[in-house]
Amino acid sequence: MPSYDDDVPTQEEENLLKQLRENQEEQQRLRVISEVKNLVIGSKRCKTAFYRVGTIEILCNLLQEFSSINTNSNELLIEIIDCISSFAKSSNKKIVDRLMELGCIQQLFLLLSSRTDSIQLCESSLRCLRSFFLPKLSSTTFSKVDYTNPFLTPISFVLLCDQDAQKPPSLITQTPKLVQLPSFEHYSPIEILFEIPQSLDVLLRLISVSKCAQLSIVEILCCLCVNNERQKQLVDKDFVPVVFRLLLQNISENQQQQQNSKLCSINLTNEYIIGVCLKFLCSLCHENASIAQQLHDTISSETNQTLCEVVSSLLCKIHRPVVISYYASKFFVNLCKTKVLDADHPSVAIESLSTLIHLCTKSILNKCVYLHIECLDTLIYLLNGNSILHKNATYTEQLLNKLFTYIFTPSKVLDEQIDELLLVQIRSSALTLLAVLSSYDEEIKKRIADEGNLIATAIECYRMPYVSLQLAALRLFHGLSRSVHQLRTTFNDTICDILLDAIKSSDLDIVKISSCVISNIVLEFSTCRTRLLNGGILSILLALLTHTDHDLCINSIWALRNLSYLSTLKIKQDIINGITVDRIYSLLERCTDEQFLICLLSLLRNFFDEKDTNALLTIFNEEKLLSTLQRLREQTHPEEIQRELITLIDHLNSNNNSSEQRLSSDSVGSSCRTSLFPDYTCDEMDQLDCS
């Protein structure tokens, strides 16, 4: 906690605040407010100290008082608003909450609706409004704080296991995190703005006031796109054609400015407006397929160009400011992730991908470490699940070499001293991107795993006291675990011990990702299997079967399924005894979770491979098992479950027949195997009847 947290104003400051409370003539008041403003701006101590003695309440009352007075009090109002704006930028949540409680946002909108005579007053009010929405960056950390739009800040990573090829694909759902409202949203500036009648109409009307107003308004709009509902509300208010027009206008003005050699200075306002318009379009279509399609189909009535054509034209070179290139790329990334564009569309596979890679590897224009991290996170988002782009991304050594640099010597990203927490973020993002790249293609996997010292560094990262770094290291292990070769070579006892530790972690995300890794490395040919079994992995997995987290349950049964593949009779018996036969029957009869059911049936199929069928059937009671499976067959289950059931029933029935007949059921089994694996799975793993 900062030392000034308990501070109160000094005597001199107290005298000044006393004058603020007194009712004075306007010029005197103006002087006092100006002095208060000059103390507050740039000082966290003053903000906290003044807040403690009720200065915010006085300012809000003054704002209300002078907003309603029908005189030319614009100068005074601007001073008051600039002062409030400074308080609104505070990273102290209590201050910002208090401003909202006092109805500051509503008052600003009232002012913007009624006082349209002064451009400066309008710009000042919009800047103040914007202060409520934009992230409060502290000087030492770049953190997702307060009321920022989660769709804009580092994109929440969808765990590899959710896109895992080994899981029954039909039941993979998007993590609810992305569309869930943050818990504070019921009292956030975003919620307040949407509750104010005609607030969006006010913003729409003011967008033509000035360039400064345009910047503020579009930045506020970016922050409003917090979920699909809000995105739709903005689209319904026709912000898309307005912003598109703004985009075209500023691109045109920018081109004219650059062609005009008589100008003695270049103003970058047009470029910043282009950047912020692109940012808005990105956040509007983020994880929203229908809006993404709408944007894809949008055509300018003035130039007849499609929006995609206009954005694509901005990708022909790296712009200054580089945010133009970044957000233009991100626009196509969002269209790809919503399936409006295919991953191999040139705007995605060539233009956007190469721009993003360039911005975080070679660009000398990109001097912003935050943007380096954003590019890495956007690449993670794009490449996760789009394996056809992995080869493009690693076509040259440019990206991989840079990622290794980020991980081994992150302080060399830029020629400046970087804060420790930022270094952690860079390393986490780089490790995670490597994890994504290593998750499909065997050659890329090998290239990554063979990089000297990488595995040791990943192990070291897991041991650091940062959850993000631990998760990233585990994700890398997960990506590499999707390879027979890596399971036989890379995974050593140290990694096993780490996983045994991670699966007992109090952090649910760490437990989940480590369970994904374990589900692969318990396979029969893995070098880790014995160490894991000796470390008690069986009892841990059995315990996780009843966990409240659904993903973890699925991971656990999947791991047991893999553990049972080609395993000894003893291990199979241990699994059966751990779950219990009665519970297996109960699950077969009552389980409504289709994903869990597929995994369970697959587990049973692994139990009853040729050599152990007779021994295990006696435990199960063959007749009861067959009749239970037959009853399941008669229910309306999806095709995957039906196929699994057919195979199992056939196999159990053929157990009574000669070995020649049993061979034919094996061929049925192979087609069922394929059905569990989507096209993009690792070929080697596909040849085995496992994950």
Binding site: G42, K262, I266
Partner: protein, 263 residues
């Protein structure tokens, strides 16, 4: 305006020509410099030949004038810009002279040690700047502390540091170190002659003024560096590249004076 403004531009152009000539003269050789590290240094041309080539380069007067105006406007020399524009027949219609005026007043306030006045002016012109840029806010307040020390107002300096600068020292090591150096000035009878005496130099005021000027230009979405400055840096960069390739050429040894090396 005096002709000496033109020389650095010509010199920068000379470096550009040198680079082009060096590349064209070595392209006829069969290998790159990386493959022949141990070969003798290539002489590209004599100084006379180079100067002749430079003389043949066409430079429009309007380009030079634009560069000069751009420098004066960016650095905030309003009066000089207006006079030069008048003499050169250039229109300043696209230049925001009010904004230029404001930046000039802020620069003058800082360079004359009136830091609090400068802060007030900055907060009027760019009310979000010092909240968005903590380093800038710190440097201004540090300069105010230095002015208090310069005026021998020790008690005021101690109180000011405690109230207004302590929060910065808590946040970042670099700022804490800077503050410690500034506070160390109080220990010396003649702070100007102390190891941290550079803080008391007028040049430090100018440094802060330049920093503020750049920040204000960025804040109002203007280029923070003049084209002339960019050109000079480009010339230096190109000469470094030529040096790395071990090429001999008439090197620009004094950019300000346009002096070339005798070869």
């Amino acid at each position: 305006m005096h002709a000496h403004f033109a020389q650095p531009i010509q010199a920068a152009a000379a470096a550009a020509v040198a680079a082009a000539m060096a590349v064209s003269n070595t392209s006829s050789t069969s290998s790159t410099s990386e493959a022949h590290v141990s070969t003798p240094v290539h002489h590209t041309a004599t100084k006379a030949e180079w100067m002749e080539a430079i003389e043949q380069q066409r430079l429009e007067r309007s380009t030079l004038n634009r560069l000069i105006i751009n420098y004066l406007v960016t650095e905030g020399f309003k009066e000089a810009a207006e006079k030069f524009a008048e003499e050169a027949g250039i229109s300043l219609n696209n230049v925001d002279l009010t904004s230029l005026d404001e930046r000039l007043r802020i620069r003058e306030a800082i360079e004359s040690g009136r830091i609090q006045d400068a802060i007030n002016l900055i907060n009027t012109k760019a009310p979000e700047l010092l909240d968005q840029n903590r380093q800038l806010a710190f440097h201004l307040k540090q300069q105010h502390l230095i002015e208090l020390i310069r005026s021998n107002l020790i008690d005021d300096a101690l109180t000011y540091a405690q109230i207004h600068l302590a929060e910065f020292a808590e946040e970042e090591i670099k700022m804490r170190q800077e503050l410690e150096k500034t506070m160390a000035l109080l220990v010396f009878d003649k702070p100007l002659e102390s190891p941290y005496g550079y803080l008391m130099q007028i040049s430090h005021r100018q440094q802060v003024a330049n920093e503020i000027n750049s920040a204000l230009l960025i804040y109002q979405n203007d280029e923070s560096e003049s084209d002339l400055s960019m050109l000079v840096r480009m010339a230096t960069y190109m000469q470094d590249k030529l040096d790395q390739k071990q090429l001999r050429y008439p090197k620009l040894i004094d950019i300000a004076g346009g002096k070339l090396e005798d070869s």
